[in-house]
Amino acid sequence: MRLIAVLFAVAHVSGVLALWPLPRSLETGTNALKLASNFDVQIDIPHAPSDLKDAVSRTKSLLKSDKLGRLVVGRGASDHNTLQRSGSLRTLRVSLTPGSPVRSITEEARLAIGTRSEGYTLQIPSDGSSATLTANSTLGLLRGLTTFGQLWYEASGEIYTMEAPVSITDSPAFPFRGFMLDTSRNFFPVADIKRTLDAMSWVKMSQFHWHVVDSQSFPLEVPGYTELASKGAYDSSMVYSPKDVEDIVAYAGARGIDVMIEIDTPGHTAIISAAHPEHIACAQESPWTTFANEPPAGQLRIASPATTNFTAGLLSAVARMFPSSLLSTGGDELNTECYVQDAETQADLKASGQTLEQALDVFTRATHAAIRAEGKTPAVWEEMVLEHNVTLGNDTVVMVWISSANAAAVAARNFRLVHGPSDYFYLDCGAGEWIGDDVANSWCDPFKTWQKSYTFDPLANISASQAHLVLGGEQLLWTEQSGPENLDSIVWPRAASSAEVFWSGPGGDLNTALPRLHDLAFRLRQRGVKAIQLQPMWCALRPGQCNIDS
C-alpha cells in the first residue's frame, strides 16, 4: 500500500490521470503517447467468446467517439507539439494467462458473489510497442478494457495520453459494487436501464439490484402470474416482459454486471391486491400512516397457507427468469398493525396456533426454500435479521439500509452483508417531502453528496475476523420523486463514489478524487449520460483552485 500511495502522489502532481475507480496498483510516466490511426485491439485467445469480441469493439468505438479534451485551461490544445514527437501505439494485445478457462464475460459475471475473477494487468509502454492486457478471466479483461478506455484524451484530432508508460495491476477490494433502482414507484423504460448499465460498467460496478416491484405498481410480467402485471402495472406500456428481462440481463452480463432481482415481501406488496385481493391484508387501508411507511398500505397475508404457496410459486417463477445466483425476497418495513386489524390473518393465526412472528418464520422458510430449489441464494433487508426472528440460511446475504450503524450487528450475527445505508448511499434524499399536505423535508435529509458517500468505511466497527462477511455495497435510488426525466442527473456522477469505495477500498483522498470525478463526469456526458456538473467549469479546468482553502 505504501508503494501505491507514493506512486499515486506522483501521478497527481503530473496532474491529469483520470481513472475511476482508481486502480489498486498504478505507475504512470510523463511521456506523451498517441493512438496510431490504424490502432487495433488484438485478441490472442483462441475461440474468444463473442461477448469479449463485442466488448473490444465497444472499447474501440468509444476511443473514437469520446472526443474528450483534457480538463485544463485550453483543453489540451497546446499538447499538439509534444504529440508530434511522441510514440504511436498501434496494438493492444489482449490475452488470458496460460491455463485460464475461456468462458464468456457473462458466465464469469454470474458466478457466485465472492468467486468472480475481476483482476487484470495492463502495460502500456511509451515507445509505441504493443500494450498488453492480461487477466485470469474474460471478466478481468473487460475491467482492463474499461480502464484502457478511460486513459485517452483528444485534441487536434489526436487521441493521446500524457502519462505513458502506464503500468496497472488491479483487482477489486470488494466483489459487490452495486446500484439499486426502484422501478415501481415510477417506471423506467428498458432504454433507461440499459444506459444506466453502460454507465455502471464504466465504473466497474458488478451488481444491478433491481427493486422491480413494490406497493405502487407491479411492472414485471411473470410467466404463470401474468395477471399481476396486467392488473398491477401503471399501464400496459409500463411492463417488463420476459423478453425485456432477457434483454436487460444479457446486456448487463455482457458488461460484467450480475442482476439481482428483488421481489419485496411480505410488505410493499399492496399492488398484488389488484389481481389477488385474497392475498393482501389491509390493502389501501386508511389512514395509511397506521398501516404502512408510505401509501398505499397492504402486505401479503403471511399466516395464510394459500398466500404462502402463492408467494413461493411466484418467487420460483421469478427465479427462473433470472440467471443470477442471488435473489432478494426483500423484507423491509413490515407493519404489525396491518395484521392485527386483518380479520383473516387473525383467524389464520388462531387456527394454526401461531404467533405473528412464527407465521413470518414459516412464510420466510417457505419462500426461501422455493428459491433455493431454483438454485438461488436469498438476500434480505436487515430487519429480517435485526428485528424479526426468522430462520435464515447461513449464506443469506443481508442488505443494510436503515443506518450504517447497523452493519456491525448484522456481522455479529455472522451473516454476509451489503452496505446500502440511508445515511451515506441514498441518492433520493434531500429533495423535500413528496407526501401531500405536508411541508416537511425528506425523511433522510440531507442530500447525500458524493463527498459523503466517498467517506464511507465498509469495515467501520467490524472486526478483522468479520471483515470477510462484507461483500461490498451499493447506492440506491428510490423513485418516489424520480423518473426517466431525472434518472441520469440524480444518479451520476454520485453513484461513482461507492464504485470507487468498493473497488479501490476506503480511505481515498477527496482532494485528488475531485478532478478525477470531474473527468469521469465529463466522459459520461460525452457518452450520452447526463451526469451533473459538480462545479463551475472554471473550477473543473483548474484543479485545486476552488477548494474552500485555496
Binding site: 483543453r75 415501481s184 414507484r185 415510477n186 417506471f187 406497493s215 405502487q216 405498481s217 401503471y234 389501501q284 386508511s286 389512514p287 395509511w288 400512516t289 401509501p295 398505499p296 434531500g430 429533495a431 423535500g432 417531502e433 413528496w434 401531500g436 399536505d437 405536508d438 411541508v439 423535508n441 425528506s442 435529509d445 440531507p446 442530500f447 447525500k448 453528496t449 463527498q451 459523503k452 418516489e480 420523486q481 424520480s482 423518473g483 426525466e485 431525472n486 441520469d488 442527473s489 477527496l510 482532494n511 475531485l514 456526458r525 447526463k530 451533473i532 456538473q533 459538480l534 462545479q535 463551475p536 467549469m537 472554471w538 483552485q545 476552488c546 477548494n547 474552500i548 482553502d549 485555496s550
Partner: protein, 570 residues
C-alpha cells in the same frame, strides 16, 4: 371589488363539487374561475379563429402553435384508467367547433412582442375565456394581444386526450383572469456553466406555459463571459469557456425575440462591480484582485476579482460596455447587479488605493459613483434600472428613485427595501433558490452542505407571501418575484429536472396572488394539500413531460392517479 367577491362566492360550491370528480388542472389557477360538470369536446375540424383585422404575425404564430398543440398533446387525465374512465362522457360531450378570438372594441392591435416589452406597470395581460355547453363556439376576448396570448395558454391546458379527441369534463367554463403581479420571472445564470441556445428556448416555452413574464438573464459572472459584445469582442473571445460557449449578437436577438413573442420580457443583468473576474482575461487593467488567493478573503466564491471602481478608465469601460449591450436590448428593464462586493479586494489593490488617494475619495464614494454611472447609462437607454438588494441595504448606494431592487439574501429584507420607498421584486434565497440543498460544490469541504440548505421544495416556494411584513401602503411597491437557478452545480444535463415543475410554484404565487378563485387564502395551513395545489401541479408536470420538458415526478404515479390518497392524513 364587490362584484369579484360576489362571483367568488358563487364559484366556491361549484369548484368544490367539481374537484370530487375531476380537478381542472390549470396552472396558475385563474383569478376568477367557474366550472360546471358537463363534458365538452373539440370537433375534429376545430379551428381557432382570429376575428382581429390585420393580425400581427406573432399573434398568428401563437395561434398556430396552439392549434398544433391541440393535436400533438397526448396528455391523458390523471385518473385510474386514464382516458378510458371518460369514454362515455366523451361520447356524449357537447361539441365545440371553434374558438373565436377578439379584442375588445377600440383596443389597439399590436404585436405580442410589443405588448410584452412595454413598461412593467403598463402591461395588460387580462383576458376572458368562455367554454359554453350549448353554443358551438368558445370565445376569448382581451384588451391586448398579450392578453389573448395568456388566454390561449389557458385554453390549451383545458383539454385531455382520448385517442385523439380533446375533451374537458367541467363545462361550462368561465374565466376572467389577470395577474396579481406584473413581474413573474426566472433568473438564469449562464456563466458558472454554459447552456446552449436550444436549452434556453425550451425553457422559454415552458415558462410561457405557466404565464411567466420575465427572463432575468444573469448572463455573465466571474467564471465566464459568454456574451459577445460588439464594442469589446475580446470579452467573450478570451472570457468564454470556449468559442462554442458564446451567445452571439444573433443568438441574443433570437432569444429575446423568441421570448417576447411568448409574452416574456428579458432583463439582462450585467453583474457589477463584483462578479466580473472573467473580464480580466481580456482587460486585466480593469480588474482588481483577479483570482487572488485565498479567494475566501476577496470574494464569496472563487475566483476573486472586481472592477476597479476608482479608476476613471474602468468607469469609462463600464459605461461603454453597458451602453453597447443596452443598445441591443429592446426591453424597458436592465440590471447592473451589484451583489456581494468585497471591500478588501480593493483595499489591497495598489492601483485602486492610489486612484482613491489621487482623487481624494473613499471606497464608498467610488462605489456610489460607479452605481450612478451604470444606472445613468441604463436610464439614458430608456430602461428602468434593477439592482441587487445588498447594494441598497449594505452599501446604502444612492440609487435613482425608480430603481427596482432584487431582494435576494432573505425574505425579511423586503420590508427594509420597501421602507425606503423603492420598488422591489422578491427573489429570497430562503424560499426561491432552485439550486439549494445539493451539497457543497467547493473542494476540500468534505461534509459541507450548500450555503442555503435545505432544498427549496415547491411547497416552500408556494407558501411565500409577497406582502409579508409590508404595510398596505407599501403593497404597490411589490412588482412580483422570481425563482433563480445559480449554475455552480447545474448545466444542460439537469436544467429541466432542477427547475421543473418547481419554477411553476413561483409562477402561481405571482399570477394568482394571495387568494384562490374561491376566495380562500392561497397561503394557509393546508395550502399544499392535494385539493389545493398538488393535483394541479401533478397535472402540469405530466403535461410538461408530454411536451418534451423533463420535469421531475413529484410523487409515485400511483399517487398522481389518485389525488388525495397520498396526503399525510389520508
Amino acid at each position: 371589488m364587490a362584484s369579484a367577491l360576489l362571483l367568488a362566492r358563487l364559484v366556491t360550491p361549484i369548484l368544490l363539487a367539481s374537484f370530487v370528480q375531476h380537478a381542472s388542472g390549470l396552472w396558475p389557477i385563474p383569478r376568477s374561475l367557474s366550472t360546471g360538470a358537463s363534458a365538452v369536446k373539440l370537433s375534429p375540424d376545430f379551428v381557432i379563429r382570429l376575428d382581429v383585422p390585420h393580425p400581427p404575425e406573432d399573434v398568428r404564430a401563437a395561434m398556430s402553435r396552439s392549434q398544433s398543440r391541440l393535436h400533438s398533446d397526448t396528455f391523458q387525465r390523471l385518473a385510474l384508467g386514464r382516458s378510458s374512465a371518460d369514454t362515455n362522457a366523451v361520447k356524449h360531450a357537447h361539441v365545440l367547433t371553434a374558438l373565436s378570438i377578439t379584442l375588445h372594441p377600440g383596443s389597439s392591435v399590436r404585436d405580442i412582442a410589443q405588448e410584452t416589452t412595454r413598461a412593467i406597470d403598463q402591461k395588460d395581460e387580462s383576458y376572458e375565456l368562455r367554454i359554453p355547453i350549448s353554443q358551438p363556439e368558445a370565445t376569448l376576448i382581451a384588451n391586448t394581444t398579450l392578453g389573448l396570448f395568456r388566454g390561449l395558454t389557458t385554453f390549451e391546458h383545458l383539454w385531455y386526450d382520448a385517442n385523439g379527441t380533446k375533451y374537458a369534463l367541467d363545462g361550462p367554463i368561465a374565466i376572467t383572469d389577470k395577474p396579481a403581479f406584473p413581474y413573474r420571472g426566472f433568473s438564469f445564470d449562464t456563466s458558472r456553466n454554459f447552456y446552449p441556445v436550444s436549452d434556453i428556448l425550451r425553457t422559454l416555452d415552458a415558462m410561457s406555459w405557466v404565464k411567466l413574464s420575465v427572463l432575468y438573464w444573469h448572463i455573465i459572472d466571474s467564471q465566464s463571459f459568454p456574451l459577445e459584445v460588439d464594442a469589446f469582442p475580446q470579452l467573450s473571445a478570451k472570457g468564454a469557456y470556449s468559442p462554442e460557449e458564446v451567445y452571439s449578437r444573433d443568438d441574443v436577438r433570437h432569444i429575446i425575440q423568441y421570448a417576447n413573442e411568448r409574452g416574456i420580457d428579458v432583463v439582462m443583468e450585467l453583474d457589477s462591480p463584483g462578479h466580473t473576474t472573467a473580464i480580466s482575461a481580456a482587460f486585466p487593467e480593469h480588474i482588481a484582485c483577479p483570482a487572488k488567493s485565498p479567494w475566501s478573503k476577496y470574494a464569496s466564491e472563487p475566483p476573486a476579482g472586481q472592477l476597479r471602481i476608482a479608476s476613471s478608465s474602468t468607469l469609462e469601460f463600464a459605461r461603454t460596455m453597458f451602453s453597447a449591450i443596452a443598445d441591443t436590448l429592446p426591453g424597458t428593464m436592465m440590471s447592473s447587479g451589484g451583489d456581494e462586493v468585497n471591500l478588501l479586494c480593493w483595499e489591497e489593490d495598489e492601483q485602486t488605493m492610489s486612484d482613491l488617494v489621487t482623487r481624494n475619495i473613499t471606497i464608498e464614494d467610488a462605489l456610489n459613483e460607479f452605481v450612478q454611472t451604470v444606472q445613468d447609462v441604463i436610464i439614458q437607454h430608456g430602461k428602468t434600472p434593477f439592482i441587487k438588494s445588498d447594494m441598497v441595504l449594505t452599501h446604502n448606494a444612492p440609487v435613482v428613485n425608480n430603481t427596482v431592487v432584487v431582494v435576494w439574501q432573505t425574505s425579511e429584507d423586503a420590508a427594509s427595501v420597501a421602507e425606503r420607498g423603492l420598488h422591489l421584486i422578491h427573489q429570497p434565497s430562503n424560499y426561491f433558490y432552485l439550486d439549494c440543498g445539493a451539497g457543497e460544490w467547493l473542494g476540500n469541504d468534505v461534509l459541507g452542505n450548500s450555503w442555503c440548505d435545505p432544498f427549496k421544495t415547491w411547497q416552500r416556494a408556494y407558501s411565500f407571501d409577497p406582502y409579508a411584513n409590508l404595510t398596505t401602503e407599501q403593497y404597490s411597491l411589490v412588482l412580483g418575484g422570481q425563482m433563480p437557478l445559480w449554475s455552480e452545480q447545474s448545466s444542460p444535463e439537469n436544467l429541466d429536472p432542477i427547475i421543473w415543475p418547481r419554477l411553476a410554484a413561483g409562477a402561481e404565487v405571482f399570477w394568482t396572488g394571495t387568494a384562490l378563485p374561491d376566495g380562500s387564502s392561497r397561503i394557509s395551513a393546508n395550502t399544499t394539500s392535494t385539493a389545493q395545489a398538488l393535483a394541479r401541479l401533478n397535472e402540469l408536470r405530466y403535461r410538461l413531460v408530454d411536451r418534451g420538458v423533463n420535469a421531475i415526478a413529484l410523487q409515485p404515479k400511483w399517487c398522481a392517479l389518485r389525488p388525495g390518497e397520498c396526503d399525510l392524513d389520508s
